[in-house]
């Protein structure tokens, strides 16, 4: 089949028609060639990438070399990994040795990292084939991928609309059939929201579950790497490969990866699912209707729906937009024209710093660096950053209270389906509101994921978000699998 000829939206969302699980099994037993899988993706890229712009870089030659090697290993009877021949796209804020890594910023243009991120090594060790580096909002700051220095990514389901962000390129690459799966990073919703807007499964693991080593840091106490896939089983397998302790990340949890693929068939009988009665308003009716349908589906499968309260949820957004810029202003201090990428020459060191950073960073990044620097500066720290950390505690307390009554919570992932280009670019606060349901999880360090559930306005996919406590991935995936079965 041609991977690009889908007529309806549902066809396109699964246009390659192959899953991670199927490819890995078929390549390993020799019934499918890794090269053939890759060539389908490359054909899809040739057909539609100019329109979608999912990638900053397509690494076709490296990928062909790699796929050929995997096929040769299978022919020779060598043991291949759990992701043999699975094509994967990487968000361009993950370091790839010798392959340009830009964070979609001019300040890093041309930089080739001297090492691979831990997640990249783990995927490679299991036989994954990397297709390319995907576009993002510059330094992962945004909710629409409109903030990239290299131009926006378009939603493959409707190219007049955004794919979400900041991992918009990673979501678009899978939705367009350019790769079987991808990795994104999620600081305030940057995996879950684009997954919802592109009709995919997207996972934000518990903080510390997946190594951040080699992920260019944005908000270090919030960032987590996670997968985009077309099925829940694919996400479970990807998690098993990328999660688990890494001595190179000092915030990595001292425990092995959770076993999730075995959870999927367990069902939700007897589980307690939380419904937030004081949820922030502003979600569109089509999204709320699907959320209700999701509750109904879980009830029908034997779960109980219980009311919980999150009185501090709306304040999470406010706290996040202090905490994340504060951490970013510190993390982005390293981009100073000395060690990586761009330098604007000047007569002395300080002038070089100021000129390089002025030329290299885009507007949104500058805005957040300024806000964060201000919030951390003498005289303002207690009034802003100190207060934001206290609000963060209230969010964690709300969750702790809620999880005495339930095992997981359902919310919309995004208040709306994919929106049109330019709808929110003129008003930073409107853009930030996209993340009102996803941000609290990052502040608390918990697990969350988005699964596609039905369609809304204009036939576009709706994402339902499953929230779970820290290390709650197993029950979270049981709920996700049940919602997928109910589709």
């Amino acid at each position: 089949m041609s991977p690009t000829q889908g007529t309806g939206r549902a066809d396109r969302a699964h246009s390659a028609g192959r899953t991670v699980v199927d490819i890995a099994a078929a390549v390993a037993n020799g019934s499918l060639s890794a090269v053939a899988v890759l060539e389908e993706n490359l054909a899809a890229i040739a057909a539609r990438e100019s329109e979608v712009h999912a990638f900053n870089l397509v690494t076709a030659d490296r990928a062909r070399e790699r796929a050929t090697q995997i096929d040769a290993d299978v022919q020779a009877g060598k043991k291949v990994g759990r992701l043999a021949g699975v094509t994967i796209a990487l968000k361009d804020n993950m370091c790839t040795r010798g392959v340009e890594t830009t964070c979609s910023s001019k300040i890093l243009a041309g930089w080739k990292p001297p090492y691979d991120a831990t997640v990249v090594r783990r995927l490679a060790d299991e036989g994954a084939v990397f297709v390319g580096k995907t576009n993002l909002d510059e330094f992962a700051m945004g909710s629409s991928t409109e903030n990239s220095a290299f131009g926006p990514t378009r939603n493959p389901l409707d190219t007049s609309r955004v794919p979400g962000g900041s991992s918009g390129g990673s979501a678009a690459a899978v939705a367009a059939g350019f790769a079987t799966a991808s990795l994104g990073s999620d600081t305030g919703g940057s995996i879950r929201q684009p997954a919802a807007l592109c009709g995919l499964v997207g996972v934000k693991p518990t903080y510390g579950m997946v190594s951040r080593q080699g992920l260019v840091a944005f908000g270090s106490s919030l960032d987590q790497i996670g997968p985009f896939t077309t099925t829940v089983a694919d996400a479970a397998l990807m998690m098993e490969v990328i999660a688990g302790h890494d001595p190179l990340d000092s915030t990595s949890l001292p425990q092995p990866a959770p076993m999730l693929t075995g959870e999927l068939s367990k069902g939700v009988q007897g589980m307690r699912i939380g419904r937030i009665t004081d949820m922030p308003e502003g979600s569109s009716p089509d999204v709320l209707a699907q959320l209700e349908a999701a509750f109904d589906a879980l009830r029908a499968a034997g779960a109980t729906v219980v009311d919980v309260q999150m009185p501090s949820m709306l304040y999470g957004l406010t706290a996040y937009y202090l905490v994340a810029p504060a951490e970013a202003s510190s993390n982005l201090a390293r981009f100073d024209g000395v060690r990586y990428g761009l330098r604007v020459d000047a007569k002395d060191l300080n002038s070089m710093y100021g000129a390089t950073r002025a030329a290299g960073f885009g507007d949104e990044v500058k805005r957040r660096i300024m806000l964060g620097t201000y919030a951390l500066s003498a005289g303002y720290y207690d009034a802003y950053y100190g207060k934001a950390l206290k609000v963060r505690r209230l969010i964690a307390d709300d969750f702790a209270q809620a999880y005495t009554k339930c095992d997981a919570i359902l919310t919309p992932t995004s208040p709306t389906v994919a929106f049109k280009f330019g709808d929110k670019t003129s008003n930073p606060l409107a853009m930030y509101l996209c993340d009102v349901f996803t941000i609290p999880t990052n502040l608390a360090g918990h697990a969350a994921m988005s699964v596609p559930f039905g369609t809304g306005e204009a036939g576009l996919p709706v994402g339902v978000q499953i929230l779970a406590p820290a290390l709650g991935e197993a029950p979270m995936f049981r709920v996700a699998a049940e919602l997928e079965r109910a589709q």
């Binding site: 930089w111 060191l349 100021g354 000129a355 002025a358």
Partner: protein, 100 residues
């Protein structure tokens, strides 16, 4: 809450952040930061007096490794991606002696 942010404060913060802003950017940034900080006043509705700040989501402290020699990054590879290098080091413009 502190006073609304001024142009002068924005210019000072830009210096702290080593970010050269032109006049138009200072103007725009002053307005946008004021708007965002105004939004932050929402939290004044909360009683935070007895709330302990949450600095990190999952408490782990003093993660140390054994002090043994292990392979590190390749120096030439690291310097090869830098804007300027010389004699095995990053090369930078003069640090002192150029004050006007």
């Amino acid at each position: 809450m502190p006073e609304p942010i001024s142009r002068e404060t924005v210019q000072k913060v830009a210096r702290l952040a080593r970010l050269d802003l032109n006049d138009a950017e200072v103007e725009r940034m002053t307005q946008q930061l004021a708007g965002m900080l105004e939004h932050f006043r929402d939290v004044d509705a909360l009683d935070l007096s007895n709330v302990e700040p949450l600095t990190q989501p999952i408490p782990l402290s003093n993660v140390l490794r054994d002090d043994v020699v292990a392979p590190s990054l390749d120096r030439d590879e690291v310097l090869g991606s830098a804007p300027a290098a010389q004699d095995g080091r990053f090369r930078v413009p003069p640090i002192v002696g150029f004050e006007e």
